[in-house]
């Protein structure tokens, strides 16, 4: 018995070490640093500044708004796409094509979009071909949100697609057998049953979207200051690690909040 236990412990060790070094320690350090000002003095002022100066709150509101829009757009595109793919004959191949772009480096994709969206990029060339005057697309809110949504869509589709393929055909048949139209089956059966997939999609997409600093810089043209860009500024430019960490803590807390809201545990409902 004792032998067996130590043997088991051997398997746990790498995970516990990994957890301690790369999850617990960094989070603890972030919380620790958030209580020091730029002169390495212990203080609560970082939090006071965060919640008292309008700048950071506006920034938070902006980040949440952008992340929200990115998440909603990804759901609106991903859900129908997952629904269609889950009904296709070679659905594994199609889902592979959806995943494929995630293997390409983010920076590379960002530069590709700069090429596409710039003043004399492909999209504007096409516009001119059809007689539409060239548009300023790069460095706009819309382009930032659309490119961010494009980056996030595979991460939204996958969990939704998986929850869809888990639904047995007989549920759909039962619904139709009982007289439900296709729309009723979608809204009353398929969407509620794929809710866990939608929720994990939100968890995977929403939080990273709060801090997309690279995209906000390259596609948003640094006009969009999100919490992510602020963290980057504080750590690399102003060297105010305390303030950067404070924003980090806020991001972690908001992540916990999102997790709680998208908890998949089913509550007992009563009719």
């Amino acid at each position: 018995m004792a032998m067996k236990k130590s043997f088991k412990g051997l398997f746990y060790t790498p995970y516990i070490l990994w957890l301690a070094m790369f999850v617990i320690a960094p989070v603890a350090l972030i919380i620790y640093y958030s209580f020091f000002d730029i002169h390495h003095q212990f203080t609560f002022s970082n939090y006071r500044v965060f919640f008292e100066s309008g700048t950071y709150l506006t920034m938070t509101a902006n980040s949440v708004l952008y992340a929200f829009l990115i998440t909603v757009i990804s759901i609106l595109i991903s859900y129908p796409m997952a629904l269609v793919i889950s009904r296709l004959k070679h659905r594994d191949l199609w889902i592979l094509l959806v995943i494929l772009p995630t293997w390409i480096n983010l920076l590379l994709k960002a530069y590709a979009f700069i090429g596409l969206l710039s003043r004399d990029g492909l999209v504007n060339n096409l516009f001119e071909f059809f007689g539409i005057p060239a548009q300023q697309m790069l460095f706009t809110d819309a382009s930032f949100i659309l490119v961010a949504a494009y980056i996030q869509i595979p991460f939204m589709i996958l969990p939704i697609y998986n929850s869809m393929t888990d639904i047995s055909d007989s549920y759909i048949r039962a619904s139709s057998d009982l007289g439900a139209t296709k729309w009723q089956t979608l809204t009353k059966i398929i969407i509620p049953m794929t809710m866990p997939g939608i929720k994990s999609g939100i968890q995977i997409v929403f939080i990273p979207s709060l801090s997309l600093f690279m995209l906000s810089r390259l596609i948003g043209g640094n006009k969009i200051i999100t919490l992510g860009t602020a963290v980057e500024e504080h750590f690399l430019t102003t060297m105010n690690w305390g303030m950067g960490s404070t924003i980090g803590v806020v991001l972690i807390i908001s992540m916990v909040v999102v997790m709680l809201f998208t908890n998949t545990k089913r509550k007992g409902r009563r009719s």
Partner: protein, 362 residues
């Protein structure tokens, strides 16, 4: 005669890969009767159910409901309901919501929904379970809820796709009685699909025995059991001893070197046939008194009878059901009367079989 509610006319179903699931299926279902499609797995019985329910399109032929062609009518517009093999109770809804689903999608008023759900749950004796979650129910309870959900729309026909296969033996027996009772109470047509011949014999008004996409024989349980059309049906329904023989003349059959008086007729003289004798129709006696002598090989105690396996001199296997045990390795005699034998021709069609039976019976 009561009214025809469902009719299949020359229905064929061929899949893209060339597999023919249904071959020339034609039958009529009358209002208020209990029908069973019986056959081994893959024989096409579920495909028939699905083509009536609207989950699969037939390749050719007609599916009629209440006299109207419904081939192109989608499943949600057909006035019949299905009890699924896996029940397919929606896990995101509780018992009440599941049973109410068929009413809610038809925009029925709340008071009426409540009343009808209550009535349906009462029918299956689960009226106190309305607020339970599906995951809190046992297999037998889920089964009943699936039935309640299917009858709440007051369908004219209820299709049941092997609904009892997931239940344990005791519960399955109880449900057989209950389903039969429910069907008579509701007075609607049940089309029940099963591979379990005991279920089929116990519940049905009429059984359709299927194999390889074809209906081999239709008839009431007693006819099918006593007068199977061919080797497959005889073997599939109940247990049987099937011995090759020769029809010497009408009411005279020869097998294993002896000639016996039988109750079948209408074959050509000296036509090769198969003789069916059910194990419970064989009576063990002394070797001298027996019409045949067999050597007992093994005996199994089955509770209400002994199942005895024996071999005759030619090495044919004989299955005998007896209330008394006998001695292993002893030679015993077997007797049987003319009515205990049923003679089957090779490759006889159902129509010919029926008309031949009519020609000499009664």
């Amino acid at each position: 005669m009561s009214k025809t509610i469902v009719e299949l006319k020359d229905v064929y179903k061929t899949y893209d890969d060339g597999f023919t699931a249904l071959k020339d299926i034609s039958f009529k279902l009358n209002q208020g009767e209990f029908y069973t499609l019986l056959g081994p797995s893959g024989c096409g019985k579920t495909t028939i159910l699905q083509s009536i329910a609207g989950f699969t399109e037939v390749t050719s032929g007609e599916v009629l409901f209440d006299g109207k062609r419904i081939n192109d009518i989608p499943a949600n517009k057909r006035q019949l309901n299905t009890v699924f093999q896996d029940y397919a109770l929606f896990p995101n809804m509780n018992v009440f919501e599941n049973v109410a689903f068929g009413l809610v999608v038809h925009d029925i008023k709340k008071d009426e929904v409540e009343q009808r759900v209550h009535d349906a749950l009462k029918m299956v004796q689960l009226e106190k379970y309305a607020n339970r979650e599906i995951s809190e129910l046992s297999g037998g309870q889920q089964q009943r809820i699936a039935i309640a959900r299917a009858i709440v729309n007051r369908p004219k026909v209820l299709l049941l796709d092997e609904p009892l296969s997931a239940l344990d033996a005791k519960l399955r027996k109880d449900m057989q009685y209950e389903l039969r009772e429910l069907q008579q109470q509701l007075g609607i047509t049940f089309l029940f699909v099963t591979h379990d011949q005991e279920e089929a014999l116990a519940m049905s008004d009429e059984i359709f025995v299927m194999n390889k996409g074809e209906i081999l024989q239709k008839g009431d349980p007693v006819d099918i059991y006593d007068e199977p059309i061919n080797h497959f049906v005889a073997d599939f329904i109940g247990e049987s001893n099937i011995i090759p023989g020769k029809m010497v003349a009408d009411f005279q059959v020869a097998f294993l070197g002896h000639q016996f008086e039988c109750s079948d007729a209408g074959m050509r003289p000296n036509e090769p046939v198969e003789v069916v004798i059910r194990p419970e129709d064989l009576v063990i006696t002394t070797p001298e008194k027996g019409k045949l002598q067999v050597k007992v090989d093994t005996q199994l105690f089955r509770g209400d009878y002994y199942e005895i396996l024996a071999y005759d001199e030619q090495g044919n296997e004989w299955l005998i059901h007896s209330t008394n045990a006998t001695k292993d390795n002893s030679i015993v005699g077997l007797t049987f009367g003319p009515n205990d034998m049923h003679i089957m021709r090779y490759n006889e069609s159902e129509a010919k079989f029926n008309s031949r039976l009519e020609s000499y019976e009664d």
